[in-house]
Subunit: 351 residues, 2 copies
């Protein structure tokens, strides 16, 4: 886990539970005026200042969501925060606070947790959110992190999954499939390493997709961009499990169907070339791969002119009546393929 | 885990992640008007209605905080909620919502999680809190639960750990040490069972202390009782790690010392007789045992008359100048023993 093997490592028991929490959280000043009381009491205090509170939680388990064989702890800390902030952004709300819960085996020295918290701190700084609480305990096996993220927003700004209407346009930010292909490269190089530890991993040239997997960003910027364009989405969700799965969630909650045009799905050049190299269909990576943390949303048809051609957004389809179901319109044909959720499922993938 | 071994058990993978969450949370209606949106979107929405938000999180790990060999899953679910609500009560706030995160190995069938959620639901009903979100994932080993609890309260009602002044009276609700002795009985009978599975566990007559351990309650009632007495605590904390540890937290945050009188520590008769049977000092169980989930608080000296003799509260000491340190005054003598935190520590206990 550490390059300098000569370094003296500190067992967690040397600090104890309270000492550890104090040690790990002492470099997290409260920056938001809404954070009234942080770590150190029975509970934290937030001043919502007239706004609604949105709150979400996500759990990441070693061996399921990450492999410490190729995921640096600092990246893991950063990503664990990002996946939660992405959920707040998907409500069109501004994330303001997080709480971090950790169950960690004694095989991790304090220095490992410092790395993890360095990543958490970097994310807090980048996204201007405050760490206001948490809990750290030992576990019998591995590392389990649970983060709760809180956002504050005026009622009329919040967007749910449930507001899409037939004929609304379906829009996605950024590009898709990269995180999944980055994971394929990491897993390929990790197996090579396991079979021959002297081999150097071949990561060069894959920077963008590796970053999409290891250090994704939450699209907290989309809210402001849409505001500048004069658009309020009618429904919104973040892409954590794959485009297909998220479209079905919007369909389910909004009681509409969707048509998604394969040729409109935004793919980065590196995503496409890596998919070709690995003999994978890049559109399938976008539909079922997950972990892209882009935002998928619907807008009223009359907002078309405001968003068309914007470099950050792609119109990939539209909503229909619920009875019409959810379909992918295959590239270069009019073939309608029923959309099914084959996305990432923590229980199915690990059988 | 189940009495009827002939019952058909359902693997989690049969439902998948979304199916599982839907299945487990479908019997949790939102009862509080402040719960605007619950499970099913990217985040939940709370309407704080002009109040401050208090928020706390606790993680419970199998083999560290509980042993499924003698802790029924339904009790575990109930207790996991209670320990978080206790933290909200310790802020003198009213708990309103919870989020539940679960990492669970595939060795648990859906029916086991149903038991766990039945306990969570019972707690939600009893304490009038709404389950508004969560995340469920597989883990490579065991069960880790992380619960986040939210409470709403007017600013002038909230009590922190930091408000105690010299000469304030130190008060505790209920009685202490029972949960620790209950655990000793459970562990004794579990070892007997492991050495001879045909032996019947001898649990009779230990009801109160077993309940203190297996099904503790959060003292959310204390807030109202104190209000009726016309008392607002100057500082408050809940007793999760043992009286000694909590006194030191109040000392640390309020910048005062404390004197605790051993003979004033409230002990139940069964706690005392069981301690004698097991050759343990019951005051030590109260000081270092933990998990009693009573509230420890300070009140202004002029409130003495309002609380003295109240059956629910015991005045066990008083605050001093910080320089005087923290001491236990031993029973039947004036001997001052420095208070040290030997309380429950998830990292020290499991080395």
């Amino acid at each position: 886990m550490f390059e300098d093997k000569s370094q003296e490592l500190t067992p967690i028991s040397k600090l104890g539970e309270f000492g550890l929490i104090k040690h790990l959280t002492e470099h997290f000043p409260l920056e938001n005026s809404t954070s009234e009381l942080g770590v150190g009491d029975d509970a934290a205090i937030i001043n919502p200042d007239g706004k609604k509170v949105v709150v979400t939680t996500d759990v990441l388990a070693e061996g399921v969501h990450f492999n410490l064989g190729y995921v640096p702890l600092k990246h893991l800390g950063y990503k664990a925060v990002v996946v939660n902030l992405s959920d707040v952004a998907a409500m069109n709300a501004v994330p303001t606070q997080i709480l971090v819960s950790l169950a960690v085996s004694n095989r991790f020295p304090v220095e490992a947790l410092e790395e993890l918290y360095a990543g958490i701190q970097l994310a807090c700084k980048h996204y201007k959110v405050d760490l206001i609480g948490g809990d750290t305990t030992s576990s019998n096996a591995g590392l389990v992190m649970s983060i709760t993220a809180i956002g504050l927003e005026n009622e009329d700004e919040i967007v749910k999954r449930s507001g899409a209407k037939p004929n609304d346009l379906l829009v996605v930010s950024g590009d898709l499939g990269g995180a999944y292909l980055g994971l394929q490269i990491l897993e390929r190089e990790h197996s090579v390493f396991l079979s021959n530890p002297n081999m150097q991993p071949e990561m060069e040239g894959y920077d963008y997709i590796l970053e999409r997997q290891l250090k994704p960003e939450a699209r907290t910027d989309v809210k402001n961009t849409l505001k500048e364009l004069g658009i309020k989405p009618t429904s919104m969700i973040d892409i954590s499990d794959g485009l297909a799965s998220e479209v079905l969630h919007l369909s389910d909650q909004s009681k509409v169907g969707f048509r998604v045009y394969e040729e409109k799905i935004p793919l980065d050049n590196l995503t496409m070339s890596t998919a070709e190299e690995l003999n994978l269909n890049p559109a399938m990576a976008a539909l079922n791969g997950g972990e892209d943390y882009e935002l998928l949303f619907t807008i009223a048809p009359e907002d078309f002119d405001k968003i068309v051609g914007h470099p950050d957004f792609s119109i990939i389809g539209h909503a229909t009546e619920l009875n019409d179901g959810n379909h992918l319109i295959a590239r270069g044909s009019n073939q309608m393929i029923p959309l099914t959720a084959q996305g990432w499922d923590a229980f199915l993938n690990k059988e």
